[in-house]
């Protein structure tokens, strides 16, 4: 009996020691707040960046905290209200830091001024895919199909109020068709219904569609960046297909507004150098992310531009939860 117990303890200690070598240090750890739950690309990215930040700061401990709730607003607010001493930073996709200000009327904060930029680490784009019940091979054929089958023309997205939802609205407007939006809880459940033929069209992150596309279960008809996706170079962009819409998303690191510039510069340099390393770049690519690694100034500019870019799409979607 006792032997089992000791064995358990020993193994537990082993795991604990492996998991966070930095627990041994007494210094207050740097906290990377990720405003969504664990599981998924963004969370894995947060942990990957945490490892690199730790290495870049001579082993200073870095922990990732999933502060979840309210579609990312709770986590963003946590960071905005944190002490601006560089001990709390935010990793967020575009929505919570550049689009929520258009979606929610009484947000209570302005992500453009209440957050200070550190570095944009990666970009990614969206794709539109059709399931086994839709014969279309090109975007034009899809539009024809949708016009012929108005009672079937629905598209799924990973969630109401997520960027693919708004991008679908942009496409419907550009093509002059009426697509009914159906929100899911994440890409996975939307994909299950797409592969199973329950829903004809899904708009979501290209990398989420990739495996099914390669296996021939679904077809990606177009991707949303201005240039072709390196994941599926044979698939044309929306622009090439004759629909003048572009939309990309990204992950970036921010700090509370008053965080000193020298701390942000330091983190920015470490993160930018890390994501530009070839092995990280390659890792990113399998996750469907294109490594960027910008300076704080560049990120600030991108944040403003993209916030302005998405405003009309949000308005056109009619998605306006009264908070």
């Amino acid at each position: 009996m006792r032997r089992h117990f000791l064995l358990s303890l020993a193994a537990a200690a082993l795991v604990a020691a492996n998991a966070a070598p930095a627990w041994a240090q007494l210094e207050q750890p740097i906290k990377i707040v990720f405003p969504y739950s664990a599981g998924g690309i963004g969370d894995a990215l947060a942990r990957l960046l945490g490892e690199n930040l730790r290495a870049g700061l001579n082993g200073q401990s870095v922990v990732v905290e999933n502060v979840t709730g309210a579609a990312g607003r709770t986590g963003v607010r946590t960071v905005i209200n944190a002490a601006p001493d560089g001990k709390t930073i935010l990793l967020s996709p575009i929505a919570a830091v550049a689009v929520h200000n258009h979606v929610y009327k009484n947000l209570g904060y302005d992500p453009l001024t209440d957050l200070a930029p550190i570095s944009q680490v990666a970009e990614f784009e969206f794709g539109i895919a059709v399931g086994p019940n839709v014969p279309a091979k090109t975007l034009d054929e899809l539009v024809k199909w949708a016009k012929a089958n108005p009672d079937k023309a629905s598209y799924g997205s990973p969630g109401a109020g997520a960027l693919p939802h708004f991008f679908g609205v942009l496409f419907g407007k550009a093509a002059g068709i009426d697509l009914v939006h159906i929100g899911y809880k994440g890409s996975a459940s939307a994909l299950t219904d797409l592969v199973g033929g329950q829903i004809p069209i899904v708009v979501t992150t290209t990398s989420d569609l990739l495996a099914q596309h390669k296996a021939g279960k679904i077809r990606i008809l177009a991707t949303s960046d201005s240039k072709r996706s390196p994941l599926v170079p044979e698939v044309p962009t929306f622009k090439e297909s004759g629909y003048d819409i572009v939309g990309t998303s990204w992950y970036a690191v921010f700090a509370p507004a008053k965080t000193p510039a020298d701390i942000r510069e330091k983190y920015s340099k470490i993160l930018a150098a890390a994501v530009k390393r070839p092995e990280i770049k390659e890792k990113f690519l399998t996750m469907g992310l294109y490594a960027t690694g910008t300076t704080p100034e560049e990120l600030g500019k991108i944040q403003k531009q993209d916030s302005a870019h998405w405003a009309p799409a949000v308005k056109a979607s009619g998605f306006s939860p009264n908070q």
């Binding site: 009996m1 089992h4 117990f5 358990s8 193994a11 537990a12 082993l14 795991v15 492996n18 998991a19 966070a20 739950s37 664990a38 599981g39 690309i41 894995a44 990957l48 490892e51 990732v64 502060v67 979840t68 709730g69 309210a70 579609a71 607003r73 709770t74 607010r77 979606v103 009672d151 629905s154 969630g159 109401a160 109020g161 009914v180 159906i182 929100g183 809880k185 994440g186 996975a188 459940s189 299950t192 219904d193 592969v195 199973g196 329950q198 829903i199 990739l210 495996a211 099914q212 390669k214 296996a215 279960k217 390659e282 890792k283 399998t286 996750m287 998605f319 939860p321 009264n322 908070q323």
Partner: protein, 502 residues
Amino acid sequence: METLAHLAVGFEHALTLQNLGFCFIGVLVGTMVGVLPGLGPVPTIAMLLPVTFGVPPTSALIMLAGIYYGAQYGGSTTAILLNLPGEASSVVTAIDGHQLARQGKAGLALFTAAIGSFFAGTMATFLIAAFAPALAEFALRFGPAEYFSLMVLGLAASVALAHGSVLKAIAMVVLGLLLGTVGQDIYTGTPRFNFGLEQLVDGFNFVAIAMGVFGIGEVVRNLENERTRSAVASRVRDLIPSRDEVKAIVAPILRGTALGSMLGILPGGGAILGSFAAYSVERRIAKDPQRFGKGAIEGVAAPESANNAGAQTSFIPMLTLGIPSNAVMALMVGALLINGIVPGPNLMTERPELFWGVIASMWIGNLMLVILNLPLISIWVKFMAIPYRVLYPGVVAVCCIGVFSLGSSSFDVYVMAAFGVLGYVLVKLDCEPAPFLLGFVIGRLLEEHLRRAMLLSRGDPSVFVDIYDHPISAVLIVVSAAALILVCWPAIGKRREEAFRE
């Protein structure tokens, strides 16, 4: 024959010293987080994800999988000993398991749970090895209409969970359904019944509610008067069930395994329904349903087998299609992606050593869990001898930490406290908390799929009974109707008798 060849490849990779080590660490950590109430596999795996960065992907997945099904083993421990289900799937285990523990049969209940889980795990592993692609195809035929009808069947069966008044059971289910509507409307984003609180935008957290109603409620109730607990059998040989007891658990384990395996394949909610369904079925077919809720061993054997079988088969969509069916699977997909592997329909042919290695490791892991858990039982049952004044402050503290770890939110801790009070009130009113929790779980899924099906059909309700396009849904609706009539018949019959007498 082909299956055997594949399994041979799998065992070849799973039986290396390194992979055996990772498997062991996985199931050990899994057992520990399963035993600690509230602390589930999701935060644990997330925390351990960086460890897997430098590890070969097969080993990483073997360890993470071990944590997941290990937690299913551990989860029943506190449910039985302290009436504290740490996971949704062990809620029903608490009903009869804790009663058995009160009668001094904690060892028997834990033994049954372990053996049931092991058998279910073994069967489910072979099911995956032999039929994974076919089963995945079946899962894909479940669209919104089918899920809705499945949830309707779940509701119809939920009344069977109660062992008192049917009326109270229905009231509890409805209360659960209503509380499930709190939070953001997933199609329009409009927040409902949240009183302007941002913390309620996503609705109540299931784990916080379950631990409040069961765990905290139990603690509060025991503050009234310390109920006597029977002396416990702590020697291992006292734990071995008698011949009659073995006879009583064999059939429920088989039925639980079958039900859990089927429902576990369905992404989103299937695994939770497994243990509820298994319990309901046992109660329905038992010769004397009165024993349920008072310590029926079948009430432990069936749901525990079902939840472990479901935990194994829920790997099918991820392994065969690359589509994660829950948060734990999503984490595993993340671990694979970081290692440069894109899980998808081609995984089986491109990385056979990974695919079959993980499957083979599941059986090895289940064996390790049984060997690990049987001796631990005699340590766990000693918990029953700890005086309440020492035990309960510890239980409350661990609950608070566990609930806080869900989303780093102190609000969830308050929710747990409030539902602890509700749990106490419900017990005083002789209302069962299990139908309430089932209603809560089903309510959200019911609404999500009903509205999705209606959006897709442009408001035509006939999709649910369309035999040509949705045969599964039509069958489920018919079975639900039959189940409802069956439940209501005695009541109707009785009333007619009374009317005649007058």
